[in-house]
C-alpha cells in the first residue's frame, strides 16, 4: 500500500507521500508520517512495514551521526544509502528481511540525490522514483512531466500531483499528502 515519490531537482530534492496506513482492507491510520528526516540534509520516504522502516531509519540515523563525529565530516547520500542497503541485505540473508522499500533523498557536496533501497539490499540512483501500491499511477504523472531543470517549487507541485492522482485510483493510498523539499547546500566560496 502507500504512494511515495522522490524527485531530484536542480535546487535539491523533493519527497512526497500519502498519509494512509492500511490494515488489510481497513484504514489503520489517516495521519501517518511516511517521510522521516534523518537530519537537515537527508530524508527517507517509507513504503512497506512501518515498524521495519522506522527501525532501519533509527539505526541509519545513529550510524550516520556516529560516522560524522568520528571522521569529522558527514556521510554522503550515496554512503548513507549503502549503509541502509547493507542493513536490509543482512536482514534478507538471515531470513528476517525488513519488509520495506525506501526512497532515500538528500543533498551533499555533489548536489541532490534520489536513491531507492529495497528489502533485497539493492540500490539504484534515479532522477525521480516512486514506490508503493500507487507507484504505477504516480510514475505515469512523473514520466510525463519530469524535466532535469525542474525547480524545488515545481517539483513540490509535481510530487503533490503524482500522489494525488495515485490516491484517486489506488485504494491503498489516500487521506492527504505530505511534501518535503531539501535545498542544496550553500557552497562555501573556495579559499
Amino acid at each position: 500500500m502507500t504512494t511515495i515519490v522522490g524527485i531530484k531537482t536542480k535546487e535539491g530534492v523533493v519527497l512526497g507521500s500519502d498519509k494512509r496506513a492500511s490494515k488489510g482492507f481497513f484504514i489503520g491510520s489517516k495521519i501517518t508520517q511516511k517521510i522521516a528526516k534523518l537530519d537537515d540534509t537527508l530524508a527517507v520516504a517509507i513504503a512497506g512495514q512501518l515498524s521495519d522502516a522506522e527501525y532501519l531509519i533509527k539505526v541509519a540515523k545513529a550510524e550516520r551521526k556516529l560516522a560524522e563525529l568520528r571522521r569529522g565530516f558527514p556521510l554522503t547520500v550515496k554512503e548513507s544509502s549503502r549503509l541502509i542497503a547493507n542493513l536490509a541485505y543482512s536482514g534478507l540473508k538471515n531470513y528476517q528481511p525488513y519488509f520495506v522499500e525506501l526512497l532515500v533523498a538528500g543533498v551533499d557536496q555533489d548536489g541532490g540525490h534520489i536513491l531507492t533501497a529495497d528489502m533485497s539490499g539493492a540500490i539504484t540512483s534515479e532522477d525521480f522514483a516512486s514506490s508503493g501500491s500507487g507507484s504505477p499511477i504516480a510514475y505515469g504523472v512523473l514520466e510525463s512531466a519530469y524535466r532535469k531543470d525542474i525547480t524545488n517549487e515545481e517539483a513540490k507541485q509535481l510530487a503533490t500531483k503524482a500522489v494525488a492522482v495515485a490516491m484517486e485510483r489506488d485504494p491503498g493510498s489516500g487521506n492527504g499528502i505530505d511534501v518535503l523539499a531539501i535545498p542544496n547546500l550553500v557552497m562555501e566560496v573556495a579559499k
Partner: protein, 224 residues
C-alpha cells in the same frame, strides 16, 4: 629485593608490569626504542603532494631488500619503521580497514579514519600484558578533505602534519626537514630533501624507496 626484568615481585612472577617507576609504560617505551633502531623513514607533505621515503638497508648483494613503501588503497599509501613483521601486520590492518569502508559505505576511506583506526588498534596492545607492536607508521593519502599525512606510534598516538621522520636518528632527520622544508617544493626537490635528511642522519648516501600521492593525480604511486 631488587627487581629484575619486567616482572613485579608481588605478582608471582607471572605478569609484566606496565608502568615503570617514572610512570611511563615500559613496554611501550621499549617498542619506541626498537622503532628508533629501524631504518630512517620520512613523510613530507606540501599543498601539491604527499611523499613517503624509506631508507633501504643494503644487506647482502644476493638478498633482495624488503619492500618498505606500501599501497593501502588507490588513494592511500603507507610506510613504517621498526620490526618489519610488525610493520607488515599494521599495513594489512590498514588495507583491511580501507576495504571494509568500501564495503560499508561504497566509498574510499578518509586518511584520518585510517590513522585513528591504527591508533586504536595499537592502543589495544598497551592495555594488556602483550608485546606492543614495535613499528611506527606514516600514512599519506588524498581524500575528501584533501592531501593528508599522518604518523602513528606504538603508543597509539597519531599526529597530522607536513613533515615526519621515524627510525634511526629520526631527530637529526627531522631537524633537516624542519630547516629546509618549503611549501612550494617539487616532488623531485622533496625526494632530494629526504635523501639529504637521511644522509645527515646516517652519515652515508642512502638507497631509498619512495611513493607519492599528488593533489592532481589523487592516486598513490610508488616512485621508480
Amino acid at each position: 629485593m631488587a627487581e629484575t626484568g619486567g616482572y613485579g615481585s608481588n605478582m608471582g612472577g607471572r605478569y609484566p608490569y606496565f608502568y615503570g617507576p617514572e610512570g611511563r609504560l615500559v613496554l611501550v617505551d621499549s617498542a619506541l626504542e626498537a622503532v628508533s633502531r629501524g631504518s630512517t623513514t620520512i613523510g613530507i607533505k606540501t599543498p601539491a603532494f604527499a611523499l613517503l621515503t624509506s631508507h633501504i638497508k643494503p644487506v647482502r648483494s644476493l638478498i633482495d631488500p624488503a619492500e618498505k613503501i606500501f599501497a593501502i588503497d588507490g588513494h592511500v599509501g603507507a610506510t613504517g619503521s621498526g620490526y618489519i613483521g610488525d610493520i607488515l601486520q599494521l599495513i594489512d590492518e590498514l588495507r583491511l580497514e580501507a576495504q571494509k569502508h568500501r564495503l560499508n559505505f561504497e566509498s574510499p576511506i578518509d586518511v584520518a579514519s585510517l590513522a585513528k583506526h591504527l591508533g586504536s588498534y595499537l592502543h589495544n596492545y598497551t592495555i594488556y600484558a602483550v608485546r606492543p607492536q614495535a613499528a611506527s607508521v606514516i600514512v599519506a593519502g588524498f581524500d575528501q578533505t584533501g592531501l593528508q599525512l599522518y604518523q602513528v606510534d606504538p603508543s597509539g598516538t597519531f599526529m597530522r602534519g607536513s613533515g615526519f621522520a621515524i627510525g634511526q636518528s629520526a631527530d637529526v632527520a627531522l631537524d633537516v626537514l624542519q630547516r629546509e622544508y618549503s611549501a612550494d617544493m617539487s616532488v623531485e626537490q622533496a625526494v632530494a630533501l629526504s635523501n639529504t635528511a637521511i644522509e645527515r642522519a646516517l652519515g652515508e648516501r642512502p638507497v631509498v624507496e619512495a611513493g607519492v600521492v599528488t593533489a592532481q593525480g589523487k592516486q598513490f604511486e610508488k616512485l621508480p
